[in-house]
């Protein structure tokens, strides 16, 4: 209903001009002279259905935040070693600071800072991940090997060690 009126107005020559010159109180509440002239999608870059331009509004800039240059590869590294919630919190913190640095020092320095933080953060994170995830399987394999008698007896491991000693000597 909102856009039907300007459409009708457009089809009747000069009606939009007349309405635009009327006192504001007498105009239809949702009358927009630009919309009446160019159609309901003018602000979306269309004149009566024909696309002519794409506006870069602040909203579209927010939607295309990736254009600012948050390093996706660096971000991805965190997803390898953290669970989703913790990763979101950490990456969100980095991104918050990234935007501060970006606005102050520019894109290159902000990206450098992001990569630097990623590099020094990965050490502790990988260490913790290793303790949680990798240590258990390794201990399980060693335990299995002990139980099977592969370690501590004359099994294949002892033979490999003996071979290594001979090669070295």
């Amino acid at each position: 209903m909102r856009y039907l009126k300007p459409f009708v107005i457009h089809r009747i020559p000069l009606t939009n001009v007349i309405i635009a010159r009327m006192p504001k109180a007498l105009r239809p509440i949702d009358f927009d002279p630009v919309v009446a002239e160019y159609g309901p999608d003018f602000w979306n870059g269309r004149v009566w259905g024909q696309r002519f331009f794409t506006f870069r509004t602040s909203q579209s800039r927010k939607n295309s935040r990736r254009n600012i240059g948050v390093p996706l590869n660096a971000e991805f590294l965190f997803y390898l070693f953290l669970d989703k919630k913790n990763c979101d919190a950490l990456v969100g913190d980095l991104e918050e600071r990234f935007h501060l640095i970006h606005s102050k020092f520019g894109r290159r320095r902000a990206q450098f800072w992001y990569w630097w933080q990623t590099a020094i953060s990965l050490g502790p994170l990988v260490g913790e991940w290793g303790k949680k995830k990798a240590l258990k399987p390794v201990l399980a394999v060693i335990g299995w090997a002990v139980a099977k008698g592969l370690i501590g007896h004359d099994g294949w491991l002892a033979a490999v060690v003996e071979l290594w000693k001979r090669v070295r000597s």
């Binding site: 927010k62 935040r65 948050v70 919630k85 913790n86 979101d88 919190a89 950490l90 990456v91 969100g92 913190d93 980095l94 991104e95 918050e96 600071r97 935007h99 933080q117 020094i120 953060s121 990965l122 050490g123 502790p124 994170l125 260490g127 913790e128």
Partner: protein, 114 residues
């Protein structure tokens, strides 16, 4: 103090930071990281990853509690993880700092520290 309650230097820094930032929704990754960097005064490298792993460890020990907040636009729609020191955390920090204080006092008495 039992052996498991021992706090490392970085853990002490994190707990001190949480006390400085106070309770409520002021202590999250970025503010904690900035404050710890300030406390370290350039004497050690502080990474956000180290802060998070230490905070996780302290939470497992029961010295810290955490919760997730709402998503915000400047963080790309990601939520903040807020932290707060617990009563046992405060006690552990107090014990650790009293030990450090004793050492400083002892050294000052012999003129080791000006």
């Amino acid at each position: 103090m039992a052996k498991g309650e021992h706090l490392g230097e970085f853990e002490q820094m994190i707990l001190t930071t949480l006390m400085l930032l106070g309770s409520g929704e002021t202590a999250y990754g970025m503010t904690i990281h900035a404050k710890v960097e300030e406390l370290a005064a350039g004497l050690r490298l502080v990474s956000l990853g180290a802060c998070y792993t230490t905070l996780d460890r302290l939470e497992q020990k029961g010295y810290v509690r955490s919760w997730f907040g709402g998503a915000t636009e400047e963080r790309g729609g990601r939520s903040k993880r807020f932290f707060e020191i617990t009563g046992s955390g405060e006690r552990a920090l107090k014990n650790a700092l009293s030990v450090a204080n004793n050492m400083v006092t002892g050294l000052r008495e012999i003129g080791g520290l000006v």
